[in-house]
Amino acid sequence: MPLLEVSNLRTSFYTRYGVVRAVNDVSFSLEKGDTLGIVGESGSGKSVTCYSLMRLIPQPPGKIEGGSAVFDGVDLLSASPAQLRQIRGKRISMIFQDPMTSLNPYMRISEQIIEPLLIHEKISRADAVQRAITMLQEVGVPDAANRVHSYPHEFSGGMRQRVMIALALITRPELLIADEPTTALDVTVQAQILDLVKKMQRELGMAVIWITHDLGVVAGFCHRVQVMYGGRVMERAGTDELFAHTAHPYTRALQKSIPALQTKGASLYTIPGMPPDLSRKIEGCPFVPRCEFVQDQCSQPVELKDIGSNHKTACLRVQKKEIHLNHE
């Protein structure tokens, strides 16, 4: 049985400008120890999906319209607040994009790291602080024993993210959701954080959902990749399979946008057009306005279909084998 099974998740935001359908019928599953990368632009619904299953969406203006997210037998979307609180921070942990705003500036680091322990385990404060220090050492914070009592603003960006990872993993959760944790960091620090999470995953045997807009990041890290656009899943496959046999025009466009993968001297590629306005109901494939392979039939409602080798796509034309998108 999969560790996490998300089915038909739908989340909307009720705003002054209309109802924004941020997540529109998203399903996926995750096995124990699996690494799933969720890739998409701003507004694709990748973050909202994961906040929804943890029920961290502010309601109002957000609303989880339907679907289920079953974690080890418990549907997180219909669980009682008490049940949910027992899972959050203990069995499922999250790390966020901006460690400066995600850490409480008025509390010492030690307070924040030991908090999951104090909430979920019967442990004395002194023991908890000890474990916090050990954890900080594991995530690579130098001079941990002294720095543990500092405040967040006394750390650099990369160090703060390590602190976030420490507090997320101190309870040895079964699933870690990482929402663009390296986007706000320097490139060199990005690689370090990535390596750190890889290492912790190996040690703890946990599953990881890594949300990013950077297809290049998932290439070296995730077993499987899910590409999202306009609140829907466009494609899902094992990482190698996705790159070798790309099955969606959007995925292909994303690949073309990675400078490192292109031939030297070629002009940089950007996807023409703008992300869709999700307050308007979209018939058919949301990528239609920007797709180079678009045809009339693309305005029909889309479905995620299996095309073999554990590879799913939502592109009608690929499903019908009308086009082939392999990388030249």
Binding site: M54, L56, R85, Q86, I87, R88, G89, K90, S93, M94, F96, D98, T101, S102, L103, N104, P105, Y106, M107, E111, E115, P116, I119, H120, Y151, H153, M164, L167
Partner: protein, 306 residues
């Protein structure tokens, strides 16, 4: 931190000095005084009185004498209205009363205001929010000299629960403290609500939820410290305002405090008393402002490193 306190302390001294000097020379311009009676005073008597109070010397000499007595002995001079009494003696009897009233008003405002504001922020846009905030608007708009008499009318004269004036029994404190603190309670509740709402919207609250913290824990450990910061910043002006408000409250409720002496001194043109109370107020307010600033810095770790 200590450097901060020291710096403020050193700043306060010239301020007090300027206040004292300005007030002295301002009051010197005052025409008339408690000596002016209906019948013209015989010149020898007038000369004797002036000599007694040192008013026959040139201005700068009077100023130096005053400052010398003030700084070296803390002596505020002889009162002109109540012959034979020194200003120090009069203030010594009345200042504790005013301080008690002020503190009671302040605590009333702080405790009820903070609770109302925090509760309102947690129940945003429901009746739990609208009701305290409407009461707050009332409190801000209706002045103390209207609520004071109204409270007396209803609760003392009407229902008979309290005395209409005086400062003898513990329950005499209730209506004056309420009248004095009402405006500040209202203002503080708005500040608390605003501060809490700002904090509750922050990302780190989301992080706390993701850790499985209960709502109560989020309020207590994560929100209060940052959310109540605006309240602490307001303490300085609040104390200043309470000093001002006591002028009216002590008059309405006939409380024998320093403010009453001040108001009477204004009517009587009693120079030394005016000077003395002004200085005392200035010192009090500056000290309380410093205390409030220290508290604000303590509560916000980021400020400590500036």
């Amino acid at each position: 931190m200590l450097r901060f306190i020291l710096k403020r302390f050193l700043e306060a001294i010239p301020v007090l000095f300027i206040v004292a000097t300005l007030t002295f020379f301002l009051l010197h311009q005052m025409k008339g005084g408690p000596f002016d009676t209906e019948r013209p005073m015989p010149p020898e008597v007038k000369k004797a009185i002036y000599a007694y109070y040192g008013l026959d010397k040139p201005v700068w000499r009077q100023y130096l004498n005053y400052m010398e007595r003030l700084v070296l002995h803390g002596d505020l001079g002889m009162d002109q209205k109540y012959f034979g009494w020194s200003v120090n003696e009069l203030l010594a009897s009345s200042l504790p009363v005013s301080l008690e009233l002020g503190l009671e008003g302040l605590f009333f405002a702080l405790i009820f205001g903070t609770i109302a504001g925090v509760v309102a922020s947690l129940r945003k846009n429901t009746f739990g929010d609208y009701i305290p905030m409407s009461i707050a608007t009332f409190g801000i708009c209706i002045p103390s000299f209207v609520t004071g008499p109204l409270l007396i009318l209803v609760f003392a004269l009407g229902l008979g629960w309290f005395n209409a004036s005086g400062w003898f029994f513990p329950r005499d404190r209730v209506l004056p403290a309420m009248t004095l603190g009402l405006y500040y309670m209202a203002y503080i509740s708005r500040l608390a609500r605003g501060g809490m709402l700002e904090i509750l919207n922050q990302d780190f609250i989301r992080t706390a939820r993701a850790k499985g913290a209960s709502e109560w824990r989020i309020v207590r450990k994560h929100s209060l410290r940052g959310g109540l910061l605006p309240v602490v910043t307001f303490l300085g002006p609040a104390v200043s305002g309470i000093v001002t408000g006591s002028l009216v409250v002590e008059t309405i409720f006939q409380i024998p405090g320093a403010a009453r002496f001040f108001v009477n001194a204004a009517s009587n043109r009693d120079g030394p008393m005016l000077m003395g109370t002004t200085l005392v107020y200035a010192v009090l307010v500056i000290v309380m402002n410093l205390a409030a600033d220290v508290m604000a810095v303590w509560m916000n770790p980021r400020l400590r490193f500036e």
